[in-house]
């Protein structure tokens, strides 16, 4: 035989899934919430700004990554979809009336500061979209917390519940026909996407379920509404909890890789979100809870390395 044969270490076959296919699966899973957000804030309100924010955030994130990698002579990775996903997630976390130039700033921050400066894909210690959201929150608090729904500027449902200024209907909060950020309002649309991710085994149940259950228990114990299930349901549907639990806390890079670590991570998120929402100044707490827990991931992983097969119950570890 004259032709050369390929040589490599085993295994010689590979699964079909790739980083790219996973990113696009998450992108697809966000589509119900995105489309609903566009309907809710652009179509109904006849205001193009929400659509513009989504497009601009995605474009800026992709472009920032492209320019950075070109300038630094790094391999181009924009086709893997991770930058586009960051842009979409950031847009979904913004108020529909948020100024576009600020969103551009946030997108650049997400990709350049949070992601690329720390080594790019897989190396960032904090969720880029949430890092940018918190950056915008401290920079432009007014614009970030100004919500308009159907032309009326008002508080978010969670803020109304917290300061007693109103009583939002649970059905509106579930369907999403209510004020809030572009992507967070419709629990239903988010759950459809979450179901897809779970079905495709892109995410496991551990982080979102532990997060939501822990938060629910915390809210029941310390929420000050006793066993009021209506209050609890609104706390669960309101704000960024569902978006955060299924789409942001499950971010691979910034969540623990160990199964036990994911459970610990979920519980910590639930407690922190509870503390921020109930005892904090703001009615929201999901973003801060997630980025703080992102920072704890290395510590969580350190103490949750699983026991190898067959060594269960063996103490010395040797």
């Amino acid at each position: 035989m004259s032709n050369l044969l390929n040589i490599s270490s085993s295994p010689h076959v590979r699964d079909k899934s790739s980083t790219k296919s996973i990113m696009w699966d998450v992108f697809l899973a966000l589509m119900p919430a995105t489309i609903f957000g566009i309907y809710n804030f652009s179509v109904r309100a006849k205001d193009i700004n929400a659509v513009l924010l989504i497009v601009v955030c995605i474009a800026t994130c992709v472009l920032t990554e492209y320019i950075w990698q070109k300038a630094m002579k790094l391999p181009l990775t924009v086709s893997d979809g991770s930058a586009a996903l960051t842009g979409l997630l950031l847009a979904l976390n913004l108020s529909s009336t948020f100024p576009v130039w600020m969103a551009i700033l946030g997108s650049v921050f997400a990709i350049l500061i949070v992601k690329q400066l720390f080594g790019g894909l897989g190396q960032n210690f904090m969720n880029p979209a949430l890092g940018a959201r918190c950056f915008l929150m401290v920079s432009f608090a007014g614009q970030m917390t100004s919500f308009t729904y159907d032309g009326v500027t008002g508080a978010t449902p969670l803020a109304m519940i917290k300061n007693g200024s109103g009583d939002p209907q649970l059905i509106d909060m579930f369907l999403g026909t209510i004020g809030g950020t572009i992507g967070e309002t419709s629990t239903l649309a988010l759950l459809i996407g979450a179901a897809y991710l779970l079905y495709r085994k892109i995410i496991s149940w551990k982080i979102p379920v532990c997060y939501i259950v822990t938060f629910a228990v915390f809210a029941l114990l310390f929420g000050g509404h006793g066993a009021d299930m209506g209050y609890l349901a609104k706390e669960l549907c309101g704000g960024g909890l569902i978006l955060g639990a299924f789409f942001m806390a499950t971010d691979y890079v910034t969540s623990p890789i160990t199964p036990k670590g994911q459970i610990v991570f979920g519980i910590l998120l639930g407690i922190l979100t509870g503390v921020f929402r109930i005892f904090g100044a703001s009615a929201e707490g999901v973003s801060y809870a997630i980025i703080i827990c992102n920072l704890l991931v290395p510590l969580i992983e350190r103490v949750t390395i699983p026991v190898p097969f067959g060594k269960e119950g063996i103490k010395d570890g040797k």
């Binding site: 390929n6 295994p11 699983p306 190898p308 097969f309 067959g310």
Partner: protein, 440 residues
């Protein structure tokens, strides 16, 4: 019904339909036969023939040279042409006995004749297995007589016959279950004679219903033998996963199956035991699968050991197009060959010729920490962290992450969406750590 299995694992494309319906064809070698003295785990055998000697089929040509070592027997009759270093499958060279086949197949006295194993003592059986040069034919090549002599024979509760054949493409064990079930049962009965308390379990994955039916029919009436159906999942046929699925017991790297009261032998090995003990035939043949999309006509063959791979390829009708990669063994743990002019050994299970190399087609990209490697690892390890440590040559961390518990099944690498060569880094790190430990 949910079948017995283990946590983790993967489901690669099986590819078994290429050869599963093809009966085993006996192949006679044409060229010289090459017998490497090192084709098992342990010390290489010492040649006991010299250039010019006449040898017979079944004659010992290499003598076990230590406790963990194995005899080598000639698979043909003829003349010793040389005793010299030759290249092996993995590219290394080792002393080989080269025999020119006279085509007569004249056997040693008693070759192929019946022998009643019930009249033999246990020590005699172990001695016959040792003399026959039988080693684990599933791939490890561990001397079987050593396996059959655990420190506490009365502690053995199970003899597991590994018919899982979880590697994709391979069908040699499957065909043997269909075509010679009585030899498998016969071999198992010989082993069970050594272990009074033990129960024999023939373990088969549930993607082989015909083999399950055949073996169930063959064991009906045997009160110490049963068929255990396992879920189809790679690496179900790994020693640790097999024991756990079949018996619920677990072992780790520092333990032998015997520590969990188990003896595990591959289908081919059990047949070899039967032939050695009941038919006075040492280990001189084995069944291989010649398959993959590059073969003109895939086939299962019964091959004389020592035959060249290049010669065997013709049995598969040659290649219909140039293969990109040729693998000895299955696609998950097999070895990529770079030259076909190497001999078939006791552990050669297949020639898998593929027109596409999925490894070369997929460039590694950065790890996204998706955790699929953790999910699929049957050893309950964290391959992502182990790989990080191994690539940084941080062997202490690698060991503290239980890296030495890895048995290189390849599931993590298969599942990795970033196409990272995890298993490769573990092999390198494990070799390094093992070498360091030997130095101490």
């Amino acid at each position: 019904m949910s079948q017995a299995t283990f946590r983790g694992g993967v489901h690669p494309y099986e590819g078994k339909e290429l050869s599963s319906e093809l009966p085993i064809k006996t192949v006679m070698p044409k060229g010289d036969l090459i017998f490497p003295m090192a084709q098992h785990i342990g010390a290489p055998a010492a040649p006991v023939v010299a250039k010019g000697d006449k040898v017979l089929v079944g004659q010992k040509i290499g003598e076990a040279s230590g406790f963990i070592s194995a005899n080598i027997c000639s698979s043909v009759s003829g003349t010793v042409k040389a005793v010299e270093p030759r290249m092996l499958l993995n590219g290394s060279t080792a002393t080989c006995v080269v025999i020119e086949n006279d085509g007569e197949y004249t056997g040693i006295d008693g070759l192929g004749q019946d022998r009643d194993y019930t009249k033999l003592s246990n020590d005699e059986i172990r001695e016959i297995v040792k003399e026959a040069g039988i080693v684990g034919m599933g791939g490890a090549g561990f001397p079987t007589n050593v396996k059959l002599a655990p420190k506490q024979p009365d502690q053995i509760d199970y003899v597991l016959v590994n018919g899982a054949e979880c590697e994709p493409y391979l069908t040699s064990d499957y065909r043997q279950m269909l075509e010679c079930p009585e030899e498998i049962v016969g071999g198992l009965k010989v082993i069970l004679k050594l272990f009074d308390k033990a129960k024999g379990l023939i373990c088969i994955e549930d993607n082989k219903p015909e083999a399950i039916a055949k073996m169930e029919a063959a064991v009906s009436g045997e009160n110490r033998i049963a068929v255990k159906v396992l879920k189809t999942k790679y690496p179900q046929g790994g020693e640790r996963t097999l024991i756990s699925a079949a018996t619920g017991r677990k072992i780790y790297s520092a333990k032998l199956p015997a520590d969990a009261g188990c003896i595990v032998d591959n289908i081919s090995t059990v047949i070899a035991i039967y032939r050695a003990v009941c038919k006075q035939t040492p280990l001189i043949t084995r069944v291989m699968t010649l398959t993959g999309d590059a073969f003109q006509t895939p086939v299962n063959v019964d091959v004389r050991l020592g035959c060249s791979h290049a010669e065997l390829v013709e049995e598969g009708g040659g290649f219909k197009q140039n293969p990109a990669k040729i693998i000895s063994g299955g696609p998950m743990m097999g070895f990529a060959m770079f030259d076909l002019n190497v001999p078939v050994t006791k552990t050669s299970s297949s020639i898998l010729a593929m027109t596409e190399d999925e490894v070369a087609q997929n460039e590694p990209t950065p790890c996204i920490r998706c955790g699929r490697c953790v999910t699929v690892c049957p050893g309950n390890l964290v391959p992502q962290k182990m790989a990080e440590a191994a690539m940084n040559n941080d062997y202490d961390t690698f060991v503290s992450l239980n890296g030495m518990e890895c048995y290189e099944c390849g599931s993590c690498t298969y599942a990795c969406p970033a196409k990272r060569p995890l298993t490769q880094t573990f092999k390198q790190a494990r070799q390094h750590v093992a070498a360091q430990r030997r130095k101490k």
